[in-house]
Homo-oligomer: 265 residues x 2
DNA sequence: CGGACATTTGACAAGCTTCAAGAGAAGTGG
DNA sequence: CCACTTCTCTTGAAGCTTGTCAAATGTCCG
């Protein structure tokens, strides 16, 4: 039986913690993010007030009561969501290591959204107040932040196209490809021995998928099973293995742009 | 008969044109946008290379072949969209006077989207290259741009919640309220004599609405008619009149945040 | 008047949601 | 260590929302 997200409950202590010195940051060392000047690195390290751990399922930013802080997600998965007053929930975007969290609340006209951890998560915390100083003293970092904001908007754009115009099968194929690609770019995808199939950790459950794609839980399950029976993917022990990326891309009508390195705050 | 968008084809010359001096900009004078220092205003005027007119239905940014320019929409309506290869189209967001256009392509990882004019549109044009200079020399403007980016992401967030989780009636109610509110904030809504009902110019047709909400044209029409029969709105001669905003808000489950002034580039 | 385009309506089909219930896996407490 | 609870996944059946097809009406424009 395929069982998504049937991973053991990971103790919060299992989350890799952000090291004290940004120079030791595993994300930066991975070379998957754009390079940065030493002075900027020093500023970031100084700007960061502390780190924080959130347990799986925990709240990072409350939907109704944002806290005004900024975070960089160091390890783990989280998601942004909005909900209607009767409880219907829409996941707007998944947040993966390296993503900047909380920008929208900093600015946006109170258009509330919440952020919740999927796995145990570790975060670098930046105070709200420092942002203006950053823009003034380190304009290149300000530019990077705008870059990240535009990139995230691009993800939401894609998700809106998906929810608005793709059917259930296309939606699921899209999501699998999208998440695989994002993880791959930050070095979190692994290849089989023969290099044919890639796989990633996949900590979300079918309810998350349904809430992301604007589908019901039941229909999400049936669609997932259909794709599985077609031999396009495999989902077990909390890992996703893509068995036919070409077919998935084709179904989703989704072809990736060439990857550019992403800034990291 | 209610006929949406049955407005006369407006000659392109009818679009109010951006004045040569930014100090004379009708948007700025309207006091609906956040104030700015004279030095910044001077920079913007210098940064702007020229103005441009686009006819109704014309292309501002091609979906497949972005031009790398930045624009501020001075007058008229436009929209951002993405489409699938078989032609299905999703409108991501409407662009109204004061909105900054083209930021995402400047940054985003090639996540293509097109921008099309609904009405005749006049634009202020800024070159791609100047943006970095702006961030370095006028950090407050860089900050404003990030603000605008986060705000637009907020709109897309809302639209995603709508497309993903609201039913057809809720979606239509949402869109009517959303557009009315946005126009109202920039001073483009007018009140009846008795001040009870507000109305706005409404140049989009039912196909636009369907493409925004992720519905079919036919179902959009039927939903619109239902709301009309309930006496919630009136749509004729290219104007939208809201007859019961409370009911529309309630149906859409959409209550606005207090308006803050928006920056203008 | 004829052609192009937007709106409107009805009938029917399809996709998706909801309801209901069972199976599997994991955690808990005796 | 096992019964018990909880959570997630899975499947079938029925119903409703929405999409598709088709055609008529209305409006604008040349």
């Amino acid at each position: 039986m395929t069982n998504i997200g049937a991973h053991k409950a990971i103790p919060i202590s299992a989350a890799p913690v952000c090291p004290p010195a940004c120079a030791d940051c595993a994300l930066r060392r991975s070379q998957n993010f754009s390079a940065i000047r030493p002075s900027e690195l020093a500023f970031i390290e100084h700007y960061r007030t502390n780190t924080r751990l959130v347990e799986a399922g925990g709240t990072i930013i409350r939907e109704q009561n944002p806290n005004g802080k900024l975070f960089t997600l160091y390890s783990g998965w989280a998601f942004r969501y909005k909900s209607l007053s009767d409880g219907r929930r829409q996941i707007l975007n998944f947040l993966l290591p390296g993503d900047l969290i909380g920008l929208q609340q900093e600015f946006s006209d109170g258009a509330m959204h919440g952020i919740e951890a999927v796995t145990p998560v570790s975060l670098c915390v930046f105070p709200r107040d420092g942002l203006w100083h950053l823009f003034r003293e380190y304009p290149s970092l300000g530019y990077d932040i705008t870059w990240l904001c535009a990139r995230e908007e691009g993800f939401v754009d894609d998700n809106l196209l998906t929810a608005g115009r793709r059917n259930a099968t296309e939606r699921v194929a899209m999501l699998l490809m999208h998440l695989y690609r994002r993880l791959d770019r930050i070095g979190l995808a692994t290849k089989d021995e023969d290099g044919r199939f890639g796989s990633i950790e996949f900590p979300i459950n079918q309810q998350h998928i349904a809430d992301t794609l604007g589908l019901s839980l039941v229909h999400t399950n049936k669609t997932l099973r259909r794709l599985h029976k077609l031999g396009l993917h495999e989902l077990k022990n909390g890992r996703l293995r893509l068995l036919n990326t070409r077919a998935l891309e084709h179904i989703a009508d989704y072809y990736d742009a060439p990857a550019r390195k992403v800034p990291l705050l």
